[in-house]
């Protein structure tokens, strides 16, 4: 048959690419989290810089500016997250004694140094989140340009935060065809962009291997509230249902499960939503506290036995 629509060069056992091996979660060796708790919990906060103008990327990130220049409504609403929302979230994080991580736009070290200075005083892991929300790793980005976004972000965050940056979280969870190679070259240990699993797994690149710690798009606050247009109460219910389902599955199969949550200060830090955030933390860390191991992404990767 000469029609290329009926030509299947990758039709064989396993995946149709060589980024990782095929395996089903339930068939793997059991995982045990510290204190033998059934559920590990990773809470990530995305701190993002949206420039007022600049070259449009090939794919817009969630929350992108959309209006003709100058788009004051979206610029200021996103900036609200970095001025007000984040401090509200931090208050609740401190009250709940939660462990979180921050995925940070590198440009915030230049534009919001006061915020970065405050984050530096907190004992949490930082991840690279590209330079800003126009530096989207999507489509045909020239590799040297993308590498510069990656290395510049890593250097700025390591210097401003006085800590090592091992993880990368691409804006919009998008990648170019060379992103994994560039991350490995820049000595990252893990990325969070492929949402195809519920545990960390080995991810291959031509420049050495990485770990993928899959974040959850489906429970991301912006995805649920702003794309699916669900209510705050439903977000809370979905997160509680997810935790309960994963805990039961972990107990039934005697193997740890992992819940990943993702919040944006410009979304969840609004006054009408912070109560939802507070109740989510209370449920996971107090009501279910005996069953939940709340840890940083690097600790979770280590406890799952993964070594890049």
């Amino acid at each position: 048959m000469s029609n290329p629509l009926l030509d299947y060069p990758e039709r064989h056992y396993g995946m149709d690419h060589d980024r990782y091996n095929w395996s089903m979660l339930q068939d793997r060796e059991p995982i045990f989290w510290p204190e033998n708790k059934p559920l590990a919990l990773w809470i990530n906060i995305n701190l993002q810089h949206f420039p007022l103008s600049g070259e449009k990327p090939q794919a817009a990130p969630p929350g992108a500016l959309t209006m003709p220049y100058p788009d004051l409504r979206h610029y200021t609403l996103r900036d609200y997250g970095n001025r007000v929302g984040i401090y509200r979230l931090l208050r609740e994080i401190e009250r709940a004694k939660a462990t979180v991580s921050f995925a940070i736009s590198g440009a915030l070290t230049e534009h919001r140094p006061t915020l970065i200075e405050h984050l530096k005083s907190l004992p949490f892991e930082w991840l690279g989140h590209s330079w800003n929300m126009l530096c989207m790793q999507a489509g045909a980005v020239e590799p040297n340009r993308e590498l510069q976004w990656i290395t510049q972000t890593k250097a700025a965050l390591e210097q401003a935060g006085d800590r090592r940056i091992a993880g990368w979280f691409s804006p919009g969870r998008l990648q170019t065809k060379q992103t994994p190679e560039l991350l490995a070259q820049a000595r990252f240990k893990y990325h969070c962009d492929w949402v195809n699993d519920e545990l960390p797994y080995k991810f291959n690149t031509d420049s050495g291997s990485l770990i993928c710690l899959p974040s959850s798009l489906e429970l991301d606050d912006v995805f649920v509230l702003s794309q699916n247009l669900h209510s705050e109460d439903s977000l809370e219910e979905q997160i509680k249902d997810a935790a309960d389902a994963l805990i039961s599955e972990a107990q039934a199969t005697s193997s740890g499960r992992l819940l990943c949550l993702n919040f944006h200060p410009w979304m969840m830090g609004q006054p009408h939503r912070i109560g939802t955030f507070r109740r989510i933390l209370r449920y996971l860390l107090t009501d279910k506290g005996d069953l939940v191991w709340n840890a940083s992404p690097s600790m979770i990767i280590e406890a799952s036995g993964m070594h890049p």
């Binding site: 048959m1 029609n3 290329p4 629509l5 009926l6 030509d7 299947y8 990758e10 039709r11 064989h12 056992y13 396993g14 995946m15 149709d16 690419h17 095929w22 395996s23 089903m24 979660l25 339930q26 068939d27 090939q58 794919a59 999507a138 489509g139 045909a140 919009g172 969870r173 998008l174 990648q175 170019t176 065809k177 962009d193 492929w194 949402v195 195809n196 699993d197 519920e198 899959p214 798009l217 489906e218 429970l219 794309q227 699916n228 247009l229 669900h230 209510s231 439903s234 219910e237 979905q238 997160i239 249902d241 997810a242 935790a243 309960d244 389902a245 994963l246 599955e249 819940l259």
Partner: protein
């Protein structure tokens, strides 16, 4: 192009001859898990784009891969718990990529029906001979992997040509899931004149349509399923109805949705006058007991 579909005759949903399912059941209930393989880099089809993002479309590809890696076994455990055998809408290439999934389902005597080769390969852009070859490839691949030739067809990614149903009937199939015109099985006219039926599959209760298009909250989806069930069960006292829940292992198996879905399954299987079955069994039972009566009643109504 035709201006009207000629696969079936109009047949009003009143005063139809009574259907009674086995053991006097009023409703035939089946769950159709779609087990699909989407390619990361499929050839460009001139009529339809597989991914909204430029290559590599990580968000779309990776959540579908999640379905096979994580979701499949989670959904299977749930269906086991409620005594439901899945009727799998299968991307045939999955037999090559993930035979472990096929084995788990054959062990359980689940049904496999054809859903094309990949869900990133459409019927669009194929000649009639090419479409025939694609349909036969899927049938032969599934038969080789499962020991049974598929009886049903849901065209890949719901992409069709004018010949799709004809070609599938000629390849030996007995039912289609591609028509959404009724809540009961109905005869379908094909050019070969074979005895061939439509079995109600549902777009309205399809989890992907519910979650992605309608953007339903998980408990609204469960409530939608239960309301449809109550109505179809009540109407089934007049003449037996069919209810299908088409699922996807990357939608309903997500941990934030599976509890609500379980509530709906628990509710449905808690009723005694329901035939919990598969698509093939409904088609075979209907062909044996009700197809001829339906044909003659429709003929009569036309005269």
């Amino acid at each position: 192009m035709k201006t009207e579909l000629d696969l079936y005759d109009y047949w009003a949903y009143r005063d139809r001859p009574k259907i009674e399912w086995p053991n006097g059941a009023k409703l035939a209930f089946w769950v159709a898990p779609n087990i699909e393989f989407y390619e990361l880099n499929p050839p460009e089809n001139p009529f339809r784009k597989p991914w909204p993002h430029p290559y590599p479309a990580v968000p779309g590809y990776s959540i579908r891969d999640y379905g096979n890696r994580v979701g499949h076994q989670r959904q299977m455990a749930l269906l086991d718990k409620y005594g439901i055998r899945g009727s799998i809408s299968l991307s045939a290439a999955l037999c090559d990529h993930h035979p472990e999934i096929i084995d788990l389902c054959t062990e359980r005597n689940w049904e496999f029906f054809s859903h094309g080769i990949y869900n990133t390969r459409y019927t669009y852009g194929l000649t009639e001979d090419e479409e025939r070859a694609m349909i036969e490839d899927a049938m032969a691949t599934i038969e080789k992997a499962t020991g049974k030739r598929p009886a049903g067809y849901l065209a890949p990614a719901l992409s069709h040509s004018d010949h799709t149903v004809d070609l599938f009937a000629e390849a030996g199939g007995i039912y289609t899931c591609d028509l959404f015109h009724d809540d009961q099985p109905t005869p379908v006219k094909t050019r070969s004149g074979k005895r061939f039926v439509s079995i109600p599959y549902s777009l309205e209760l399809n989890d992907t349509i519910a979650f992605v298009v309608q953007k339903m909250e998980p408990r609204r989806y469960a409530q939608t399923i239960m309301r449809a069930f109550d109505e179809l069960l009540a109407e089934g006292a007049q003449s037996g109805t069919v209810m299908c829940i088409p699922t996807h292992n990357y939608q309903v198996s997500c941990p934030h949705r599976i509890r609500a879905f379980e509530e709906a399954l628990e509710y449905i299987t808690g009723h005694s006058d329901v035939w919990v079955t598969t698509g093939r069994e409904i088609a075979e039972y209907y062909l044996e007991h009700y197809y001829d009566t339906a044909q003659s009643t429709i003929e009569e109504a036309r005269r």
